[in-house]
Symmetry: C2
Subunit: 719 residues, 2 copies
């Protein structure tokens, strides 16, 4: 369900706000909350609601919502859990249409809370109320026209260009604390709590259209509607960077996350695939999350990966280079021309390659001159400036003052690693005025550079790529009904000959094969020059053919073929297989590189494509790559490039580079085939063998499972 | 060269100190330095030396060293570079034997500086002076009996149990700043600068014996004497944790490090192998370095990997679990008994599994009760306590006050992730009084837990393991002289038949082979049942046998053998090989797992052993593992366990687990063989093929290179 922009706007831009549960008791939530609203300087009217009708913090309160002198644009409920229902009804009766429910103790505490939460939703629907929460921290908007801090955050935010949607109120508080230390500002923040009505997706959609929000931060635990998330994010990310921190990536944490918000656990690898597909910047940890978002808010697009490091301290400069190099960035040695120029600005003890080590005596003038020289040279796409508290002559603040005009005149992706107490001398706020993000360590800075470089490289490809893939629908030789009717009624497994037939029909590259029932036909196949061949016994009763000797390899003479045939016939008898003997004869192909490909329907996600290495490689390169179907050929190529040890596809050890267009074609055809039939639950190719010259890709075995009447039904989400 | 303990003690515990170059000019180094000494409250006598003889900062100065009223225990020189030589001579003449040279501009700036530095060393030797520097930041000792801050650090250190040796003065300043913010204290610190006389190794040795230094931090760029480092560290680490941050790990940074201190670049993988061998805790980055050291100073030994997470904030708790799980630690679900007990302490909205989410209303009493409950249960080996600034009821400081007695009574590996401004309310110093390290993010905390758990697991094995491996010396069939005489005079390559013979002699498992010159002998070999066989043409002139068809595979009949023989004979003729036809016939063995092993002599390190994956695996598992020879069987086992995807050795995909004792035996025999001959430059086995059942390990090919008169000579360091 899509929520209109204007409907959410009222949450952030109310002219009046009722605080139901405001309290005179210092230390209580109702007291803190009102104090936060007042302290932050809300520009609208404030109506505390408290049964006593007393004056709270200098503001007259009202004994009930009904008695308020006007209908406020927004109400915040923070009364005891058992009083929330009535408060919401009172809001509805009064005509209030936007409510934040702070109170906790609903879905997250079990069945009873779940029922109470459902009742809140029912009431809201009845009155046409949209609400945030319950179990949330509220929201804020730093815009000077509103200055609304409707949250119980003990920390007041600074204004800025970042907006933050959080599934955890406490994480929002933590981020605010870290941000304040770093003098990092926000436009808007909202904590969505239990998401009984409005969800993080509604706010993502809203912030996507909000001109004040130039970078979006999102802390996400469970994904309720991945398809909608993907669609939304895809529209936003080519314009606005979206930085996501996903909580519950590990198994242990996902157990905790489920109990935290009652959210459904989602396979981490699928979520990561979806993030990449959506152009999301996924943070790897807490500091990465905060400081990458901060950098994205200041930096213009990156044009490349060459980083210059300018430092007043040798060791920290070297650590910065180590961290940047590990993050995949380049630290090019400077040209003799540039080195000469820098040499003239610096004492003889300084180093002028890259990093530029200006040594401890560097003043603010030295910093400014060297940084300007590097910028003018065009030899770096971005700059990392390292400052260890200068022993003499200057301070962080003076350096900030000297650098600020440079980056105001000439915006550039540049950041500062500031290795000193972030105190009054440090100049943090001045760096920010100069669009220079400040980082607490070389490693956190390097990660931000890496994320930014990868994001902008991706954005360039998006500009030339179709955003809405519309896959072709293959013409199909059998109907969905026939497919289901002929599948194994219990397992849903489709007969291999049917699967091979479908593959052939849509043009997927099968290894040459034939289904035979007579030895003579097999001999004829061998005689056609398909040598060596492999024989596989086809029988529904035998699921693991290899284990019982049902697969016969390396057959290159009629004698061997006959022996193998007789062997299969004996197994067929011994296992008392009711259907007549049926054998798959295939040309045996070889190649050191094997892959697996799969399409499966995942709850919420719908069809999801997976690729990975096969054969022995799967044991050492277990990581597989996911994408939500459908997607374009360019996206299929990114999938392939994300494989671990993807350089194996380029050709190594005498093997040729793999014909990539053939590989991506197979991925797309599989997606089309798997989704052309609504009943397909999963489709798997294992193995796809790549010839050592890289030019031939053969599907050797495939498996298709459909939902039948006996199986558990279609898991696909309504979308 | 070993430096006596007492000789270095005088640097840290002087009763009097001369400051040559002290200055009245505010902002100058000579002014700042004296001010730091005074401010920190040095307990001994201070003699500023300045030509004017004026009073500086209230302390009378002396016009020259000669005029000092006594011979000070320590002198610090910070005069202009061209005056350093004379100052050092004056110290010598006066009888001063301990000097710190702060002044920069020596070896690090090129040839002239190098010469001047050599002159300082010469003067010091003449007078029996030991000195630190030049180009260093000085040292400090926080012991109340001395309170010496003889450094130009703008930051005064707090007292504590950590001592820090730094190859970069600026990095020491940065660490001090970060440490002060975290209320982390130090016993001693020394910045070694250019290490013209005393090196980080001298100070490591000293601190190893210093009872006040319970944890050692070391920032290292170049390694001058890796063998001595290894010996030293091996003696220290079973008692004292040594945390090392290595600068210059990337190629770009290693270029910078060389110009920074003129240090020799060392292959990173070898250094890492040596660190592991020495029981060193290697930090992965700046914050890891500081906060792991801090944790090691407070924590008693870890007994296991089970971590309990206790939090007042759901999201941050989940991030902590994610980070811990990624770091290889376990976050076990608590028993029903413990959950019941915790349930009684907490409101219904709380979660009592693991993490324990006490929600935002948790007070200091809740923290203390829950933490105590978890400790008493014995269900966790360590605790991570997460605190997001509490909105009401309590503060970080109150929580710290409540937790402190618990950890004073009952020391436990436990730490705090404090997600709020580290201000007066945060209680940082109180946490420290309670032996609770405070971390800035869940990820930094998780890394410290990981490092500590791995270190203490290692320490357990060390206690039962021989510390000084003394490899057996194999009896040798030929002398070193014979080996060298018979090697190729230009390349130093030893003839394959000789190498195989040596391998056989020391009991290394060669695949069955024979060197033959007649087809009849080859046929006899085949007839013995070694089938299939492979033929390899032996000829010094042909270095890449495979490329010219000099390797013939899959020979299983006399006919095929004859054809292959004739093929090799033709190549022999075509390449005009002067020596008679000589062929290596080997049984052809197969196995999906192949390895490479190597021994090489590295400058400074001496013999170094390497193991890695071979065959196609080397393309995807490139990381190899190094150890400095000699080492024990237990260490060889650790090497093997450090291989990437080491689980391949356990047996997967129908392959059996590898006979590990055979593998480690091969590693040790190779080390013994390679070092029994002083002339061996390198010895390589490629491949070692492991049979699929894991029981047979066959050396298929080996290569030995010796130093001959024509080659560059023995690179091994004198040790």
């Amino acid at each position: 369900m899509t929520t209109p922009y204007l409907s959410l706007k009222a949450f952030f831009e109310p002219r009046s706000i009722a605080i139901i549960g405001a309290s005179r008791k210092p230390g209580s939530l109702g007291h803190m909350f009102l104090k936060a609203v007042l302290d932050f300087g809300f520009t609208g009217k404030i109506y505390p609601v408290h049964p006593s009708g007393e004056v709270i913090l200098g503001v007259p309160s009202f004994p009930s919502v009904a008695e308020l002198p006007e209908v406020p644009d927004l109400a915040v409920i923070m009364v005891r859990r058992d009083l929330v229902r009535d408060a919401l009804i009172q809001c509805g009766e009064k005509g209030i249409r936007h409510v934040i429910i702070i109170t906790a103790g609903f879905r997250e505490v079990g069945e009873e809370g779940k029922k109470m939460e459902a009742e809140l939703v029912r009431i809201a629907r009845e009155y046409g109320i949209r609400f945030i929460g319950p179990n949330c921290m509220g929201l804020f908007n730093t815009h000077p026209q509103y200055r609304l801090n409707a949250s119980f955050s003990p920390t007041q935010p600074l204004p800025g260009a970042i907006s933050f949607v959080s599934q955890s109120g406490a994480l929002a508080v933590a981020v605010l604390e870290t941000a304040n230390r770093a003098h990092m500002g926000f436009a808007k923040m909202v904590s969505v709590g239990n998401k009984a009505d409005l969800t993080e997706l509604d706010f993502l959609e809203y912030l996507g259209q909000d001109p004040d929000s130039r970078v979006i931060m999102l802390y996400q635990e469970g994904l309720d509607d991945p398809r909608r998330f993907l669609t939304l994010a895809r529209h936003m990310t080519p314009e606005k960077p979206v930085v996501v921190l996903k909580g519950g990536r590990s198994e242990s944490a996902s157990r905790a996350a489920a109990s935290h918000t009652g959210a459904l656990a989602t396979p981490t690898a699928i979520v990561q695939g979806m993030y990449r597909q959506a152009g999301i910047i996924e943070a790897t940890g807490y500091e990465d999350f905060v400081f990458t978002a901060q950098a994205m808010a200041y930096w213009p697009p990156f044009s490349g990966k060459r980083i210059a490091v300018v430092t007043n301290a040798g060791g920290p400069g070297i650590l910065a280079v180590d961290a940047l190099a590990r993050a995949g960035l380049h630290i090019p040695a400077f040209s003799p021309q540039l080195q000469n120029r820098l040499r003239q600005l610096l004492p003889p003890e300084a180093a002028v390659g890259n990093p530029v080590d200006m040594i401890a005596s560097a003043t603010e003038t030295t910093y400014a001159a060297v940084v300007e020289g590097v910028i003018q040279s065009g030899e770096a796409d971005a700059l990392l400036i390292v400052i260890v508290r200068p022993p003499v002559n200057t301070t962080g603040r003076k350096i900030a003052d000297a650098l600020k005009p440079l980056f105001q005149r000439n915006p550039k992706p540049a950041g500062v690693v500031l290795l000193q107490e972030w105190d009054a001398d440090a100049g943090i706020s001045v760096f920010h005025d100069g669009n220079l993000p400040v980082f607490p360590s070389p490693e956190v800075a390097a990660r931000a550079f890496q994320q930014a470089a990868e994001y902008y490289a991706w954005r360039k490809t998006v500009e030339v790529q179709t955003q809405s893939p519309s896959p072709s629908s293959p013409s199909l030789p059998v109907s969905n009904e026939t497919l289901v009717r002929n599948a194994d009624p219990r397992s849903g497994v489709v007969a291999p000959e049917r699967v091979l037939d479908l593959f052939l029909h849509v043009g997927l590259p099968l290894v040459p094969y034939q289904i035979v029932t007579q030895l003579a036909d097999a001999q004829a196949f061998l005689a056609e020059g398909h040598t060596p061949v492999v024989l596989k016994l086809l029988a529904r009763e035998i699921s693991h053919k290899s284990d019982v000797g049902g697969v016969q390899l390396n057959i290159d003479t009629p004698q061997k073929l006959q022996a193998a045939w007789e062997h299969l016939a004996r197994i067929h008898r011994e296992h008392r297989i009711s259907s007549p003997l049926k054998v798959l004869i295939q040309q045996q192909v070889t190649g050191q590189r094997e892959m697996i490909l799969g399409l499966q329907r995942e709850p919420g996600f719908g069809p999801v494509m997976m690729i990975g290495w096969g054969g022995i490689l799967v044991e050492v390169l277990r990581q597989v790559v996911f994408r939500v179907w459908p997607f374009t050929a360019a996206e299929a190529m990114r999938m392939v490039e994300e494989l671990p040890a993807a350089e194996l596809l380029q050709g190594v050890r005498g093997m040729g580079g793999v014909a990539m267009e053939k590989l991506t074609e197979i991925i797309l055809r599989m997606g089309e085939l798997g989704t052309a039939y609504p009943s397909v639950a999963s489709l798997e190719v294992n193995p796809l063998i790549i010839s050592n010259d890289g030019q031939h890709l053969w599907i050797v075995d495939a498996r298709m499972v459909v939902h039948t009447n006996d199986t558990s039904g279609n898991n696909e989400s309504p979308s």
